[in-house]
Symmetry: C2
Subunit: 352 residues, 2 copies
C-alpha cells in the first residue's frame, strides 16, 4: 500500500492559451471583452484601504449581493456568488447532482461540463445538437439527474428563446436545471424572470465577459431560496471566504454601472454583426451568434490549419478538435482594429 | 422523483463571527494579525492597471510561485497556490484522500477537517490529544488513508517538534501526510525541509495570519512534484482561474517582504508572551502557544459565560463547545492596547 494509490486521476479542463510571447498579439481566444471595465472599478480599487486586507473579507459578500439585488430586482437571499461562474458551476455540481440518473447536456457545449462530471463522479449523457447546431428541448425527454446548458450556447453562440427554456424547466421537475448565461448580455433574454416561478431553475452569470472583469473572478447564480441555501451550505463546507476584498469592492461597483455594461456590449454586438457579414462574404458559414464570439468554418478550409496559421501570425483564436466542433473556429469579438487584422489575414490566406 | 431528492445535505463549517455591530469592537476571534500588511502591498495595489482586469489572470499564478520560490528556495513546480489555505486543504482532500481507510486527525483541532470529510465523503477517525493537549505520533500507529494536523495545532497553539513530524511522515508511507502550518511563523520550525526527502508530505501555509492578508485569500502548499501536479490537476478540473489579479500582485509583493513578516510576527510573539504571563497570574491555565492566539481557561470560571460577557462588552473571542475545548477560550493576540482592554475586563470579571 503506497500513498500514490489514493491519488485522484483525472483529465483537467484545458483553458484557452494565455500567451506569454512577445510581439504583436491579437487575443481572440478566451472571449474577453476588448474594452476596459467601468471607470467605477478603478475608483473602487483606489478606495481600497490596504490595511483592511489584514481582516477577513465579508463571508456573505453583502456588497455584491446588494448590487445585484438592486440592478436585477432579486432578493439577496436568492443570490449566490463565486470565484467566476466556473466556481459557481462546480459548486452546483456538488450541491445538486447527487442522484443515480445521468446529468444531460449538449454534445457541443462548454467542455468543462464533462470535466466536472469526471471530478465529482457524476454520470452524464450527451444530447446532440440538431443539424442547425441548436438545442431542441424535445430531445431532452425523459427523467434526468440534472440538465445543464449555456444560453447562448458555447462555442456555437446560438441562443434558445425564453419560451423554450421555460418548456425545458417546466417538463423536468425531477431535477435541477442550470441555465449558464455567461454570454447573455450580448443579445439574449435572461431566464432570471423564470426563477420566480420554478424552484428548480438556477441561472448563472458572470462579470468576466460583458463587464470586462475576467481578471477579477466573480460570477453568481440566481435561483430559489432552497437552491441558493444549498449552494451556500456546500460553499461553506469547502471554503468560508471565497471572495477577497478587492473582488467584492470592484465587482459591486461594476455591477451597479449599468451604463458601461450597455455601452461595451453594444459596441461588441455592432462589431460582431459587421464581422459576421464580412465572414459570410468570404464564404464562411456560422450559426447566428448572440454571444461575444462567432463559430465559423468554411468548406474546403481546414479549421485546424487555419488556427495554426493565425497563431503563427500572433492571432489567437480557439480550435476545439472533434466531430462537429473541429470544422470551425471560435473567434472572440475584439476591437474593430483587431477584427480588421483578422479579416485581412483571412483575405490573404491560401491554405497549405 | 423531485429535484430536491438530489440536493446534498451537509453541515457547513461555522467561521468566527465577523461582527457588523457599531461601537467599540475588539476583535480577537479569527486570528487576524493586528498590524497592517507590508507597505509593498499598498504599492502593488496602486500599480494594478484596472483596464487589465478585462483579461483573465495568469492561470499558473507565476508571480506568486516565483516569490515563494525565491524566499523559500523551493522550485516553483513544487508549489501549489489556492484561495487561502482552506482552498488548498479542500483541494487536497479531493486529490489525496480517495482510499477506503479512514483519514486521521486529532480530536481537538481545526474543525473544518471534519466538514471536508463530510463534504467529500471521506471516512475519518479522531485521535485524542494526550493529557497535555499534545499530539503524540505514537498514537497514530496503523495504516491510514491520510494524516492531517495543524502545526502548531489549533485551537491549542501547541507546537510539535520537527523530529516528531518527521517520525510521523516516515512511518506512514501508505498515505499522504498534511502538515497545516497556518501559524508556523509565530514561533515554529517549518516541515518544508522534509518535503525534499518525503514525497508524501504536503506542507500548507497562508498569507492570512503572519502576513496580515486574511482579506486577500492566498494560501499555498509545498510538496513533491507528484503531489503538486495532482493538486493542480484537481484544481484545473474545478476552476481554471482561482487567483484573481489583485491577489496575485499583492501576495507576491507581501511574500517578498520578509522584513515586514519578521517585524509583525515579532511584535505578536512579544505581546503573546506578556499576555500568557498576565493570564497565568490571574489563575488561567493554558498550553504553551507557538501561534498568534492562546487557549486559556480557569477552574471555576465557565468559559461559555465568560465568552458571552466579553462579547457583551464588544470583545470578541472564540468559544468551541465540546468535551475538552469547552473549558477554554481561544483568544487571538491583538495590539498591546487591545490585550490590555481584554486583561482589564478579566480583572473586573466576577462571573454570573
Amino acid at each position: 500500500m503506497s500513498w500514490e494509490d489514493n491519488l485522484r486521476k483525472i483529465s483537467p479542463y484545458v483553458a484557452g492559451e494565455q500567451p506569454k510571447i512577445k510581439g504583436r498579439i491579437i487575443k481572440l481566444n478566451t472571449n474577453e471583452c476588448p474594452y476596459p471595465p467601468s471607470p467605477d472599478v478603478a475608483r473602487a480599487l483606489k478606495e481600497l484601504d490596504p490595511s483592511d486586507l489584514r481582516l477577513y473579507p465579508d463571508p456573505e459578500y453583502t456588497d455584491i449581493r446588494l448590487a445585484l439585488s438592486e440592478v436585477y430586482s432579486v432578493p439577496s437571499n436568492r443570490i449566490f456568488v463565486g470565484v467566476g461562474s466556473d466556481d459557481v458551476l462546480a459548486t452546483s455540481f456538488m450541491a445538486f447532482f447527487n442522484g443515480q440518473r445521468p446529468v444531460v447536456f449538449p454534445d457541443v457545449t462548454y467542455s468543462f461540463y464533462r470535466v466536472w462530471c469526471g471530478l465529482f463522479r457524476v454520470p452524464y449523457r450527451l444530447i446532440p445538437l440538431d443539424s442547425d447546431l441548436k438545442i431542441d428541448p424535445d430531445d431532452y425527454k425523459g427523467e434526468w439527474g440534472g440538465i445543464l446548458f449555456p444560453n447562448p450556447n458555447a462555442p456555437t453562440g446560438v441562443l434558445m428563446g425564453l419560451d423554450r427554456v421555460e418548456e425545458l424547466v417546466k417538463s423536468h421537475p425531477e431535477c435541477v436545471v442550470i441555465c449558464d448565461e455567461a454570454y447573455i448580455d450580448f443579445g439574449g433574454e435572461s431566464a432570471l424572470s423564470l426563477t420566480d416561478r420554478y424552484e428548480n431553475l438556477l441561472v448563472v452569470q458572470t462579470t468576466s465577459k460583458s463587464r470586462s472583469l475576467a481578471g477579477l473572478r466573480v460570477g453568481w447564480a440566481f435561483g430559489s431560496e432552497k437552491l441558493i441555501s444549498c449552494l451556500s451550505d456546500v460553499r461553506n463546507s469547502f471554503n468560508s471566504y471565497t471572495m477577497n476584498r478587492p473582488a467584492i469592492a470592484c465587482s459591486a461597483a461594476a455591477i451597479r454601472d449599468v451604463e458601461s455594461l450597455k455601452r461595451n456590449t453594444g459596441m461588441v454586438i455592432k462589431t460582431r454583426e459587421r464581422i459576421a457579414s464580412a465572414l459570410s462574404e468570404m464564404g464562411f458559414d456560422m450559426p447566428e451568434s448572440s454571444a461575444n464570439f462567432v463559430f465559423c468554418g468554411r468548406k474546403g478550409t481546414s479549421a485546424q490549419d487555419l488556427f495554426k496559421a493565425l497563431r503563427n501570425d500572433g492571432i489567437f483564436v480557439r480550435y476545439f478538435p472533434g466531430d462537429r466542433t473541429g470544422e470551425r473556429l471560435r473567434v472572440s469579438i475584439g476591437t474593430d482594429e483587431d477584427m480588421d487584422e483578422f479579416l485581412k489575414f483571412l483575405g490573404n490566406y491560401k491554405g497549405d
